[in-house]
Symmetry: C3
Subunit: 661 residues, 3 copies
């Protein structure tokens, strides 16, 4: 684990560079990321490349034993290029061209832009192949930021048709697969299928799902093109991409297969604040934690935080200052979740452009900013730590295509794929458990329990794996909205949960949905009363036991939660989006059934993570917490008194820790 920083030498006069690099080294950093928006500095006009400035910096870094992570600069094609080839620009669904002035203003399917990309990436590859100063590459920057995965231009139309031709034998097969008999929507040819631009009514869900898949695949292809060029040039380099948190337009898991590991940009109070578990001062810690676990799950346990918030954030509109120490707490949280490196964004606040209100470790006028001390301290904390791997006893299944299908037809004003999954994630975390957030094709052996929210598109193969997992003694939680649709987003012929029905031992009779603030949504689970929200399914049991029943409403007395024995294992099915208390009860039962040891619920806003024999106690509250450990416990970082927004690391089993506030 190492600490690093994002650096933009192109924003500053050359005379500042040496002092900057010296200070980075003094702070104990290892990595410096550079170049992701520097195309106009690297190639000020077509064909005239200027590497001198970058070489100068690379030399300085090497002199100070800092390794460079370079980025391809393709997120920001410069104006001279846009003027020459305006066809590279994106178009919105109503045909508006998205012009120059932000970033990510190119279409992934533009042949012209792929040509330009090859040109600039090849130039960089040639220049730095074998260069010991460069450890690896970040491809482009935050694919999909600013709603840019899905473009609607003519290049996309052509590419979409080709994509469809590869996936369907002929257009009749497509019509059959999508069910275009509805509303007379059959296509006479592949050539007649357009991107889903502005129409009179909602689009056909099968067309949308195909377009979402196609758009995600377009990014995948584009990333692959870059990785291939660079890897060809130097196979010792590592390759990553800085994904975003809670970002669903892109199947990051699929893209990550072409990378050495996934990374993500972590802004705990930026964008996530005031969302569910958010503390305004310490951030939305379970949202952050779930993203750590998601990206770790794509990368064989290695992932990076490519950007870590350094104080003042410029998004959303209102930005209270983080708590004292929060920037160290966030780095520790990343480590605790298995991050291989965390790079603070950014070395120094930039004086110009869109992000002037986004802090760096250093103020724009030179002195240290709030996070600088945190960053130094974190680097020191970690210098001698060599924690073991994260070994999570529980898996939470996650699938981008499920999220797309449910986003296309949410059927409730308050449904959200991510927030629903996070309800279970938070309940698990509150019990002190580490969680692997993995794809539905993950190997489930070794997990004591598996939580599988909203497997909307679950197919027979997945159903089969889940059944076998249970049969061999696993404890499985399946939820509402599973097994509903086939791969083209049509309703399955069988009642939901479709291929999972036998395993669940129940089928869906009816569903209903509610606004977020609906009152009186109560059910009885194992004799106790609990609240639920947003969604209710009335179940017909076929083998399972009813363990939860609706306590009110038209569905009063109908089965809401069932429990089934499958081989040596247990399958719980929740037909509702549980409130936090019900989620805790469900999770406790699932863990119990799976023989997974778990703690009492941790104090509010405290989270624990275990790596090897070390436990991180992360206190996201603004009041202190005291940890009681027995005499053998060794305090690796901090001690029993964990201050507000503070963190301690102790060598002791979590089960032997007690907490007091």
């Amino acid at each position: 684990m190492s600490i690093g920083v994002c650096y933009f030498p192109e924003h500053w006069p050359g005379e500042r560079w040496e002092r900057d690099v010296e200070q980075m080294a003094e702070a104990g950093f290892e990595h410096v990321r550079m170049g992701e928006f520097a195309w106009d500095r690297l190639e000020p006009e077509r064909g005239r490349f200027e590497f001198g400035w970058l070489d100068e910096i690379l030399d300085l870094l090497a002199e100070h034993d800092l390794t460079a992570v370079l980025c391809t600069p393709t997120a920001t094609p410069p104006k001279w290029l846009v003027d020459e080839r305006p066809g590279i620009l994106q178009e919105t669904a109503d045909g508006t061209v998205r012009g120059f002035g932000g970033r990510r203003h190119y279409c992934f399917n533009s042949p012209a832009y792929r040509e330009e990309t090859e040109r600039v990436v090849s130039e960089l590859a040639d220049r730095y192949a074998g260069d010991p100063r460069v450890a690896g590459w970040q491809i482009d920057n935050e694919f999909g930021c600013h709603d840019t995965v899905r473009c609607y231009c003519d290049d996309c139309a052509a590419a979409f048709r080709d994509w469809l031709r590869e996936r369907h034998d002929d257009v009749d097969a497509l019509n059959e697969a999508w069910g275009t008999a509805f509303w007379s929507q059959s296509y006479p040819s592949f050539g007649s299928v357009d991107p889903p631009c502005v129409a009179t009514a909602d689009h056909h869900p099968s067309r949308l799902l195909a377009y979402y898949r196609f758009a995600s695949d377009s990014v995948l292809d584009y990333n692959r093109l870059q990785v291939a060029l660079l890897r060809d040039a130097d196979d010792d380099w590592f390759f990553t991409h800085n994904f975003m948190g809670n970002f669903g337009d892109l199947d990051a898991r699929a893209v990550a297969e072409d990378l050495d590991f996934a990374s993500w940009d972590t802004y705990p109070t930026g964008g996530f604040a005031r969302g569910g578990d958010a503390s305004l001062r310490t951030g939305a810690f379970d949202t952050v934690g779930m993203n750590h676990d998601l990206y770790r799950g794509m990368s064989d346990e290695r992932f990076w935080v490519t950007e870590l918030q350094s104080g003042e954030k410029d998004y959303p509109a209102d930005s209270p200052q983080p708590a004292e120490g929060a920037m160290r707490l966030w780095a520790h949280q990343a480590v605790a979740h298995g991050a291989g490196a965390a790079l603070y964004f950014r070395w120094r606040r930039c004086r110009s452009g869109q992000e002037q209100y986004l802090a760096g470790l250093r103020k724009h006028h030179g002195g240290p900013d709030r996070a600088y001390g945190d960053a130094r301290e974190t680097a020191a904390d970690l210098a001698d730590l060599d924690p073991g791997p994260v070994d999570a006893p529980v898996a939470l299944l996650h699938d981008y295509e499920d999220a797309w299908a449910l986003d296309i037809q949410p059927r409730s004003s308050s449904f959200d794929y991510w927030a629903h999954a996070r309800t279970y994630y938070s309940a698990l975390r509150r019990r002190g458990l580490d969680v692997d957030v993995v794809g539905t094709d993950a190997d489930l052996d070794g997990y004591g329990a598996v939580v599988a929210p909203t497997l909307c598109l679950a197919d027979a193969a997945l159903a089969d794996r889940l059944r076998r997992y249970a049969e061999r003694g696993g404890s499985l939680l399946v939820t509402m909205r599973s097994g509903v649709k086939d791969e083209y987003d049509k309703l399955r012929n069988d009642p939901a949960p479709g291929p999972l029905a036998g395993t669940v031992g129940a089928t869906l009779d009816q569903r209903e949905s509610f606004p977020r603030d609906e009152d009186g949504l109560d059910l009885t689970y194992r004799g106790e009363s609990f609240a639920y929200r947003t969604w209710a399914e009335w179940l017909d049991v076929d083998g399972a036991d009813v363990v939860g029943e609706y306590a009110a409403g038209v569905g009063e007395g109908r089965a809401a939660i069932t429990r089934n024995r499958v081989g040596d294992g247990t399958v719980l099915y929740s037909g509702v989006w549980p409130g936090a208390e019900l989620a805790d009860a469900l999770v406790a039962d699932v863990l119990d059934a799976g023989g997974v040891e778990c703690a009492d619920r941790l104090p509010r806003d405290v989270r624990c993570s275990t790596r090897g024999d070390a436990v991180w106690v992360l206190n996201f509250a603004l009041d202190p917490v005291t940890v009681r450990a027995d005499g053998d416990a060794e305090w690796l970082v901090g001690d029993e008194e964990v201050p507000p927004a503070g963190c301690s690391v102790v060598r002791a089993p979590l089960s032997e820790l007690a907490f007091e506030r």
Copy 2:
């Protein structure tokens, strides 16, 4: 009265058809509606028509004594047609083309589309003329759905200019009629008048009103084109169209003159829920009832419910399940309001496309869905009923052009033409009265009382008819915002209510308006205090008596409600939008003045309707209600105990029923 169903054989393999039809017959249905979105099945490519599948179904229906209602498929021009003639597509006011992928994506004024329409409708007419299997036709489907009445394309521009040429002698006359001297808006020629596309500020109201009329007339012409072709082929067919509830972009009353009767699509919890009188579980019953009465008023007492909600609705976003029995209650409500038939939408839930979350009588995997039992039971209830006609003692006047004018200049954030009229409608219904909702040109003889809300564009002829109605002993209620504008949406030269001033005996001095949640809007009516909302007029009396005065605000002490003697009759004028209590008081006085007998207010969420000597007791509440009737009462359906969401029919005068909850 008969029960039927909407059926989409084209969604299902042919082998299912026979069983489907058998089950429809067994359920006691009489009508089956088909084909409204089947163009691509009827004509898979230009000129190749395929009627075989439809004939097969028609044969099956005939074998089972079910009559078919066919639909022209013009709501969904197929992709091959759109690709050939893209000019048929609609355009929004900012010039965006509304592409393929929803439905109703054609312009009513497209000469190309009229040509295509003639072609396909003629083919159907030729095919089925004289065919005893086909009872009648629904023209197209839900004109105006998805905001499609008003298009802004070049074809519309040309047609609009022609429409203006027919209505004004020359452009000077148009300029004079509209009052284009304001803001230098005079037109040099008819050819210079464009559709009201995006501009810097609000458009001239006269231009907008002309465009709204023109757009509505365009639909009327388009419907007439289709009816003429079909009627020419077979004059024994009936013709209808499935209008929508609370839909105002189109003058349905004018369109219905070319039809044999009007129909409408009834989704009591879809779209209307949470609006005023809505129960989430039983629907917005007065909104539904008012639409029943509106469409009955267009059709000489005969109207159909072409689509009736069958359980789960996919719109709006949140859809609680209807109460147990609600689907039967809704059918009975339609019957009670005079419907000739009610067709459940739809036979079976569709597995593909946009409406997967919209229920049918049968689940998509085959078994019965919640409404199936309700539908069977309703068919059985009605088998032996032969109720007399609806004979409403009260008329409520309704006018689409008034709604347009008030929509163009609402002058209050909380004004809504339909909701205002419904305030009076609900008060009348709560008193157990049947109401005819009729156009302003209706014959008013025979009505004991007439309620005439917001006659914004009232002209001398209407004023004359209303005065004569009153003079002959009628009891008339006129409201705020009447007689304000001339036919071109200019302020009348005279003070409001303009031509109605003499009849009302008062004129408008000032008006003011308020947001929905404004506190302290109180007035005194006949010595009691009442709340009003949204709108207040200060009246100068000229012959009338002041019966209501403002109790607070700048207008304190000014006349708010007046009462005038006109010949043998009485004219009440309300200068405010009354709260429910004031609406009841006003209505009670109007009924009293007109000698209309009425009950005490019915219990909450109970409504009664009378056909001949039979009274329907419709209980929209989720608790039961008990009806006390004397010994002579004959219970035709149900009995004294009306369950939640239930219904009884009794042969007894309403005045002899008493209710207990």
Copy 3:
């Protein structure tokens, strides 16, 4: 001071004109404004000018000793012109053309429209040069209304590039000035800089600020073009323009330099109601007052109210009636703030077009409307008054460019430049003080105190003037968000408040921002607890004393408000947006330090203004207020009992008045 009216003879038949003019004269009016939207009457087709009707009116006015103020009609190019030269239309940032149908539908940079403007203005100038019936001109009408300052068409693109060429030596200088190194945004040439149309992300703030300046300058040039043509023709005419209240897209101060004086259109309950200090019935009086003082500050003490609300307003959607007498109160408020004339809008309500729900002095059917009596009475009140000038002891600095920069990067959902400045303005007014709202280049000598809110772009020259003002004994209040940016909207190299740091004696360490409804934002100022909102800065003092500290939050104990001695003067710095109580405390201290005498806080909703030796007591409350004055006081208008929405004028020092409610 005189009263007048806006008149639209073109809306009415000629036979009404004489009676109208007679009635205006009888009412005691002096000025009549006409013609601002009459282009299609003045030139019904190209080249055919019709002045006869206007001459007829001018003769009538002259006969009745009324002077005419004519307007150039360029706000509404007629349809024949738009059809001939459609390129004059504006375009939005997404490329949509803003068509005919509202007003202000022309682009300021259209060469075609400048040509047309020259043509029509020259014609008017030629016609009326030397005509004694015409006293002066209003140029166009409400520049910028309906978001029309900023257009994005090709003409604007070309003009913008020329504008940039004039301001930067070469494109490298532009790139350096803007800091286009951020996100690879460098421009290869001036020709490659486009208007900031739709892009993927927010635009570069320097590009936006340049565009805002350019757009404002375009209006300035366009106004100058018209003034020059007219002044050339007759140098005795006066020239003004009717600006709008709280309108910031245009630098009105700069435009006003080409005029003889500024005017503005005053609608106290229209648009401003429910905003902070608004009474629904008497209007947003401090918003109105601040605009009076703003426009007075542009005009060497002379300014006009070109339009004054006459009762019912058609914007916003809901319009309660003004209080009885409010229309007189508003005219007196204008006078009290130094207005040279107030013209009621409008003589008679128009029967057609967009503004039918906007009142006039006369109803559309002829009789007097609510404001008519108020207008007459006001004219009589003022007939013999000859008040001295406004002599404000306090200046409030105001700068359009600061507003633009802060609007481009507000960094809080609840920040608003105008509302923040008004917090201080209201506090000063509540203390009975007259305030000059002046530009940052104003001469500050003679002001006892200067309040300088959010001098975001403050440069060395301004800092120098403020320092010198303080050194000479002035009392200065500087606030949060000052001295942050350089002239191109880049962060200054130095910590904020940049060039003001020495004067303030403190610098910015951190900032944070909050939504409007955030709880718990408290600080301690001089030992008392106060609430603040929206924004908090943590200050490092360097010479100043800490007089306010945060009482809670992450910044607890950090300096929030500082006080510095500079020469003989005092500089207070507020790092927060104060609540009303804190604003009062700050203002009281600033006044005290500056030796400015001030009263106790006036009663709620009462304001006083002083001209010479006369004090206006303006009662915006709906209950009366009693004024106690000593025996020498002379009541020029009204007396000690000031009724609700009433006004008295007394010759007595404000300090000798006492108020009771």
